[in-house]
């Protein structure tokens, strides 16, 4: 690898470190606020909290109903990701290894669908969902997420499977597997690294979404966690520590996933860049 003269490298490290601090500080500040009592916050919001005041988290979880929203989010995100992986890997396998008429045109169609932003289709989509009785239901929101992130999933699964040598499929066919058997017994296990990467990314996209959820789930008891967080602000404008706790609860799953799967997340994002 390249080697720079040491002194200038250390010189660059100064602004880099300052920026890293600026990136971390907002989170630290929020964490500190979340630990304060309301009284302490009003007196002095900056100094490190004198005592760890965990009650705010309990208040946010129970009295605001974040617990309910949390469960809603888990149900919707888990179902959407499972469906995305299943449908996406099936299509990816067919597009990469099975010959059929129109496969290239189909792939280009999927690719084009990647560039349709949700904002452009959301009005008619709301009407389609309402006509189908799917408005304000879990299946409706799950379907909306699947439709939104499927093109990306297919794109990554297809490009991953294209790198798998055809001999493996031939061998499995000769062993007496139908195409479905090849998919289930060979392609799904082989696809694990890609499925993990795409699955985590999709889970983040769905978990973090607010627009689709706002559109599809108007009633309060169906709110997902992110929409729930947006409603916190109004309710708790005079109790900032509880508000901060709610925000941190919503961010915690993402932080945990990030700590464990940072590489897979980065791989999924860059796959689009290097193959596209």
């Amino acid at each position: 690898m390249t080697r720079r003269p040491r002194r200038s490298a250390w010189l660059l490290a100064v602004p880099m470190a300052a920026l890293a601090l600026a990136t971390i500080y907002p989170l630290v500040f929020t964490g500190n606020v979340a630990m304060k009592t309301r009284h302490d916050y009003i007196l002095d919001r900056f100094s490190p909290t004198a005592s760890l005041h965990w009650d705010n988290f309990i208040t946010a979880w129970t009295s605001i109903g974040l617990g309910r929203y949390f469960v809603n989010s888990v149900i919707v995100v888990a179902s959407a990701v499972a469906l995305l992986l299943l449908i996406g890997s099936m299509a990816g396998f067919a597009l990469s290894h099975l010959r059929f008429r129109g496969s290239r045109a189909l792939f280009l169609c999927f690719l084009a669908a990647l560039f349709i932003p949700f904002q452009v289709i959301m009005v008619p989509l709301a009407r389609i969902m309402a006509d189908g009785g799917l408005m304000d239901t879990y299946p409706g929101l799950i379907l909306a997420y699947v439709a939104q992130f499927l093109p990306f999933t297919i794109f990554l699964m297809t490009s991953y499977y294209t790198g798998i040598p055809g001999e493996i499929i031939d061998a499995a066919r000769i062993d007496g597997n139908t195409p479905y058997g090849v998919y289930w017994r060979v392609m799904l296990p082989i696809g694990r690294p890609a499925l993990l990467s795409v699955g985590i990314l999709n889970a983040l996209f769905c978990w973090n979404d607010v627009l689709i959820s706002l559109l599809m789930m108007p009633s309060a008891e169906h709110r997902t966690l992110m929409v729930g967080v947006t409603s916190l602000r109004g309710q708790y404008s005079d109790d900032i520590p509880t508000f901060a706790s709610g925000v941190l609860i919503a961010a915690l799953p993402v932080l945990v996933i990030y700590l464990f799967f940072q590489r897979q997340i980065a791989d999924g994002i860059t796959a689009g860049a290097t193959k596209g």
């Binding site: 490298a9 500040f29 067919a94 999927f110 904002q119 289709i121 699947v146 439709a147 062993d175």
Partner: protein, 328 residues
């Protein structure tokens, strides 16, 4: 190299890889006749298999993406409210372009286009530093990337606290003798604030893409430049930028798409389009017309304009960058 992993190892669990291959070669000769009849019987099913496998994907994408796209264009030429479903020609578009709020939204898009080079240059420069192995580069990479995985709602909520008039940022500025700024309450400032937060939250994404691009860069060129005694700015200009033209193009397009389509969460949480409508973007306008004003047809017209806008911006950028690449 994206999506690393060792495909062969994951294959056929339980079997050693070398042994598994041999076993397969044996079955290949022995098993062919035995399975022949079944394979022939299932020919039709075999031919249908690819279609069955892609069918769910096709259904979902046609029903929930392609049809809505066409319907939306159609919608935009019909009326709202009492004139629901009636053809009204270009009325919605006329109303749209006479609406000062939509005008602000379009002006703000112009602002985003102007700020785009900055939003691309920051992660590009940081990626260069990280690539050049600044001490602690691994740590910086992890830290910078983290906000990119946070929801805009979380980011917006956190910055609502930080940017409050009596919040920490103004307090810090006060310490060095700068008057407090009303970051989210001043119509002349608020849009810049929101864009700034958006860049803070997303530059890690572009950073990671740049780093992936760097790994494809020919490092001997860099070493040669170094041996010739080229300064860092010259290395960036003559070696890194030409070598990364494809990556830069990709980041330009995706950053622009991100600015046009993923700032809704921030706007919703931080400003609600205010103060005085100064932070409207087309996507927020669409949401308000659809969700609050019950004007789906007008919202569809705005959607169509946004779609065309993205198409034009995307194609123009690709065209410009292509030409710049050829001249080099």
């Amino acid at each position: 190299m994206p999506l690393r992993g060792s495909p062969p190892a994951a294959h056929q669990a339980g079997d050693g890889w070398a042994d598994g291959t041999k076993a397969k070669q044996r079955t290949r000769t022995a098993g062919f006749g035995a399975h022949g009849a079944r394979v022939r019987g299932g020919r039709r099913a075999e031919r249908l298999a690819p279609y069955v496998l892609v069918a769910p994907a096709v259904l979902v994408i046609v029903a929930f993406r392609l049809i809505p796209l066409l319907m939306g264009v159609n919608f935009s030429f019909t009326g709202d409210g009492e004139r629901d479903g009636q053809a009204v020609g270009p009325d919605n578009y006329v109303e749209l372009f006479e609406d000062p709020l939509f005008g602000t939204a379009l002006r703000n898009v112009g602002l985003l286009v102007l700020l785009l080079p900055v939003a691309v240059a920051i992660p590009g420069l940081l990626a260069t530093f990280i690539y050049l192995r600044v001490p602690g580069h691994r740590f910086y990479r992890s830290v910078y990337f983290f906000p990119a995985v946070l929801s805009p709602v979380i980011v917006g909520a956190i910055f609502n606290l930080l940017l409050a008039f009596d919040g920490p940022l103004n307090a810090a500025l006060g310490n060095v003798g700068i008057d407090p700024v009303d970051w989210l309450g001043d119509p002349d400032v608020a849009m810049f604030t929101v864009v700034g937060v958006h860049v803070w939250a997303t530059f890690g994404m572009a950073l990671v893409v740049f780093l992936a691009g760097f790994s494809t860069l020919d490092s001997t060129l860099l070493d040669a430049a170094r041996v010739d005694g080229a300064s860092l700015p010259r290395v960036i200009w003559h070696v890194i930028i030409p070598g990364l033209s494809r990556t830069i193009q990709f980041v330009f397009v995706t950053t622009m798409i991100g600015m046009l389509t993923s700032m809704f969460g921030l706007l919703y949480v931080m400003t609600s389009g205010g103060p005085e409508g100064s932070t409207y973007l087309p996507e927020y306008y669409i949401w308000i017309q659809q969700g609050q004003m019950n004007r789906p047809a007008l919202a569809s017209a705005a959607s169509t304009v946004l779609f065309l806008l993205m198409l034009v911006v995307g194609l123009a950028q690709i065209g410009l960058l292509r030409r710049a690449g050829r001249e080099k």
